[in-house]
């Protein structure tokens, strides 16, 4: 007799929590604008994040045109180049990826996947989005102040950040810091909701070890964010005071433009420690939800249970914990005590262990699976490729002796774009193709999706793989122009840079097609039905598609199994949703029922 499900039980525990207090909307404003429904908030978050992400994409194209064809396009000068590099990085990491994974996916999927009607505190959830929205407005406003946005790089290192000569030191820095502060305040409001909802509002039968890995990833990432963003907030406040009140937290005594600055005795290293204490968990704030989403998509489209579910959960927890003790591997060349390098290289290599476990488990999930190469699956497999690639180069950069010559070269750019840009973005695409049918009720166009995937996937390799070579050839990052005659920059570098730019323009064009697909399919896509992928998780079992306010009908679903009962031997269908009781599972032989 086949084992039906993971700890399957026919016992449905009695309901413990009282029914949620749902604020009902009565007007257009409270339904669509100041909505307290997590799903609407999720869409608001996603649209804002993707819009500002498109701005960052445009900036990257301007950067690439300059690097690829330095004498052909004169769109930007050295100052704007630095400003665009800074804004591209900051927008992509914080305002797109963090906001989309946690604010967007978190809001949409947490209540649906754990069987709750909404977030624990919907009003605070709404406020969270509006803080985020204002922070984006403040950030974009920095393009329009005199001097423009800050150009100190997304790491914002002082003393350069607030020294004369760096672009945007007047309005730009202030707006950047204020925007980050508002973002963090807003995120905290949302983050408190995500964690508390997961802990306190699961439906009957939904134990932590029956949650889809998407929720586990978002849960761990939110915890990391709640504990890591404080460091950035503190650093931002201190930078603001250094800049506006003349304090010297981060500013040492120094000469600038021929005169001694009023600052004295500050520690630039302190800023780097604070920044990376936030910055390294931030990598995992983006990566852990991606890990979770990919796990669910792989299992669904390979029609096979995720390999090593418990191991996957514990690996997420281990990565989350370890991510707080690896931050100084970003600072090997900063001038900190070299013994720290040894310590942090060790912890960095240790964090590779749970990460490798996850990669093996994804690949083993595909092993003997009934793989359906639908578009979400293509992107999920693309994620595995780019993530392994980026992870491997991470081993180079995680070791001090290898990192020292490679630091601040294009090798670093290639590495983190592979692991932190491509891998999560591939996941975001996979997730959008996977869940768009639930969110809108219609499928995305498949032909366009295929073109989108192949152009993005091959194009991304065409962009970032050569960068590793550039780095090994010694090309430094963040330079406006290299000059063809320089004895240090070979002819091949110039050719490669042009090649990368062409690939980048093509990939960007494919993203526009994707946006078109999103808008077009909203009205003209194929009807999806409630469960187009035959998935098990609760969001596909709702009464209405898209789900209405309150998510589920009169009764909340009862969960009897883990979400990965795909291809169970003996069962009639190759999937058994989480809310199907054991006695209702249809078997091939009608006489055989599990007792």
């Amino acid at each position: 007799m086949a084992e039906l499900g993971h700890d399957a039980t026919s016992y449905a525990p009695p309901r413990e929590q009282p029914e949620m207090e749902l604020p009902h909307s009565h007007s257009f404003w409270t339904t669509y604008v100041f909505s307290q429904d997590a799903k609407t908030i999720a869409i608001q978050y996603s649209v804002t994040a993707i819009s500002v992400g498109l701005l960052a994409l445009l900036l990257s194209i301007l950067i690439r045109l300059q690097l690829g064809f330095p004498n052909t396009f004169s769109l930007i000068d050295p100052s704007t180049y630095l400003q665009y590099v800074t804004m591209h990085g900051m927008i992509m990491v914080v305002y797109l990826l963090t906001a989309l994974f946690l604010g967007g996916f978190g809001n949409y999927f947490i209540p649906l996947m754990i069987g709750a009607r909404d977030m624990a505190f919907p009003w605070l959830n709404m406020l969270s989005f509006w803080f985020y929205f204002v922070s984006v407005l403040i950030l974009v406003a920095s393009f329009f102040v005199p001097g423009g946005p800050t150009g100190a790089g997304w790491t914002l290192y002082p003393p350069q950040l607030i020294s004369e000569g760096t672009p945007g030191i007047h309005g730009g820095v202030i707006l950047m810091m204020v925007s980050l502060g508002v973002f963090i305040a807003g995120f905290t409001m949302g983050g408190l909701n995500y964690v508390v909802t997961i802990l306190q509002y699961r439906t009957r039968g939904m134990t932590l070890m029956r949650m889809p890995l998407t929720i586990w990833g978002i849960f761990m990432a939110t915890l990391l964010a709640l504990l890591a963003f404080p460091a950035l907030l503190v650093a931002a406040l201190m930078v603001l005071l250094d800049h506006l009140a003349g304090t010297s937290f981060f500013m040492p005594a120094m000469f600038s433009m021929g005169e001694q600055l009023p600052h004295e005795g500050g520690s630039p290293l302190l800023f780097q420690h604070l920044f990376w204490f936030f910055g390294h968990p931030e990598v995992y704030i983006v990566a852990l939800p991606a890990f979770g989403v990919v796990s669910d998509i792989l299992a669904t489209h390979a029609r096979r249970n995720i390999f090593g579910y418990r191991m996957m959960v514990w690996a997420l927890i281990a990565i989350g914990g370890l991510s707080f003790v690896v931050w100084a591997h970003h600072m090997y060349v900063s001038g900190m005590n070299p013994y720290f390098g040894f310590l942090f290289a060790t912890t960095t290599l240790i964090i590779a262990v749970p990460t490798a476990i996850k990669v093996y488990n994804w690949v083993l999930t595909l092993w003997h699976g009934n793989i359906r190469l639908e578009i979400p699956m293509l992107f999920a497999i693309g994620f595995i490729f780019t993530f392994i690639n980026g992870g491997m180069t991470g081993l180079f950069l995680g070791n001090v002796t290898v990192d020292v010559p490679l630091a601040d070269t294009y090798f670093v750019v290639g590495h983190f774009h592979m692991v932190m840009a491509l891998a999560p973005v591939m996941t975001i695409f996979a997730a959008i193709y996977h869940w768009y049918p639930k969110i809108t009720g219609r499928m995305l166009h498949e032909g366009m999706g295929k073109i989108h995937f192949w152009v993005t996937f091959i194009g991304a390799y065409a962009i970032f793989l050569p960068m590793h070579y550039l780095g090994l050839a010694g090309v430094p990052r963040r330079y406006y122009a290299y000059g063809e005659s320089s004895p240090f920059i070979g002819e091949s570098v110039v050719t490669l840079n042009a090649f990368i730019t062409v690939a980048a323009v093509l990939v960007a064009a494919a993203q526009l097609m994707f946006i078109y697909n999103l808008i077009r399919s909203r009205k003209h896509g194929k009807e999806a039905g409630p469960n187009p992928w035959n998935a098990n998780t609760l969001e596909w079992q709702t009464e209405h598609t898209p789900p209405t306010h309150g998510n589920f009908g009169k009764e909340l679903p009862v969960v009897y199994r883990w979400p990965y009962d795909y291809g169970v031997p003996g069962a009639k269908y190759d999937f058994i949703p989480q809310n199907v009781p054991p006695e209702e599972v249809e078997m091939i032989d009608e006489g055989v029922r599990r007792t």
């Binding site: 624990a120 306190q200 404080p230 005071l241 009140a245 004295e264 302190l270």
Partner: protein
Amino acid sequence: MAESASPGTPPPGFTGIVSDWSSDQTTFKGAGWGKPMMWLFILSDIFIFGMFLLGYMAARMSTTDPWPDASAVFALNMFGMQIPLLLIAIMTFILISSSGTMALAVKYGYERNRKVCGRLILATAALGAVFVGMQAFEWSILIADGVRPWANPWGAAQFGATFFLITGFHGTHVTIGVIALLYMYRKVMRGDLDDGRPGAVTGRKGRWEMVEILGLYWHFVDLVWVFIFAFFYLW
């Protein structure tokens, strides 16, 4: 203890934690959503204050100038002599006392004793306001002595910077707490927590648990003060 602690069996507290975390629906049984949310906020806020204090320690250790002597700087000139830490001792006493009144307010709240609970909340708010007022007084003394965020007469400039930043940030927390307490006083006295009247801002129904949640915040702000006190005035 019902279960005998025979060797090899885990202690009952441990099995209780395991069964809570492996159960369905709620992890913190009977705690609702408000208290866990406040605890989580406090955890996040601990990291903010932790970063501030670590930043302060790093600044103090890496600066090249000598650090001003705390007992001289924070002395009050009374009765013709310098009494070190007098003002700060009174401030600390007042803030710690406010934690006592807050704890009593929670107790009377759960006993549905509206009047006593309300008065204790008001007393807590008053003590908090006195604390903030004395902090403003201390700031004014220091400013009159020539302490600025960018310089001071006795040594490292980081002294003023960290002092104003961290005590200011803490003072902001106390001020927010006082405003919340006054708002809660009104809710308690009007009977909102008894009839579950929806709040004017969030629309959530009033519950007596709210007093306890606000109390958690207030005790946390007090506890932070103990650390600030130790690091700024005693080190």
